[in-house]
Symmetry: C2
Amino acid sequence: MTSVPVRAPTRGGGGGGGSRWCPTPEQVMMLEGMYRGGLKTPTATQIQQITARLSIYGKIQGKNVFYWFQNHKARDRQKLRKKLMVLYQQHRLYPTHHHPFLPLHQVVIIQHFFFFL
Amino acid sequence: MTSVPVRAPTRGGGGGGGSRWCPTPEQVMMLEGMYRGGLKTPTATQIQQITARLSIYGKIQGKNVFYWFQNHKARDRQKLRKKLMVLYQQHRLYPTHHHPFLPLHQVVIIQHFFFFL
DNA sequence: GCAAATTAATGATTTATTCAAG
DNA sequence: CTTGAATAAATCATTAATTTGC
């Protein structure tokens, strides 16, 4: 685990500190609103527009918007995955290796059955 | 309003004993216990054993046990499906036709994306 | 309270899918 | 590609729960 920080933060702006972007509350609210509105992976054009609009509230760059959506979507999916795991365990469903999270008709049926009567 | 809800037993009616199985509370409790214990699709042998054990509490046939597990599992899945639908809508995920209820990495990505920076 | 009417729950059937063998 | 076994999904039909008017 000897990770070397490949990305030196000095690129963005000189001044002694690779100080990372710190979104203002307005910016966060706007971004979350767009995300809840269904925008998960904005295109380059959308990112430019968003950056322009949000720059009213404070310093912001396109890459900040890009990373924000990347991270937000990833963390959102993490949460969803956890909820799904809980649901599957509650229902005692058994996902396959091939479909790690996929239940219903694709679930592994453990026991087979003989009709008799 | 004008409906005459008399549904003719076109099928199955048969001879006088056209009454369906009505499980006793003990039988229901036992069956639910086994289901919660993980038994979803009992084998023919298991059905026979279960039928024998539950016949102490009242009249019961193998087919009743078989149908009970079939129905219980199906309706359990229905509930799960509804919960999944809610989750997907909350997260604005879009299931495919092939994987009607399956999210995460198999979900359809609607918008494509260009890396830019 | 009480039954008729309506709705919800669930037992029983039928139909469609999936999967494997040939 | 066809076929048969297994079973999931959809549907039908009956019973129980609930509502409603008296």
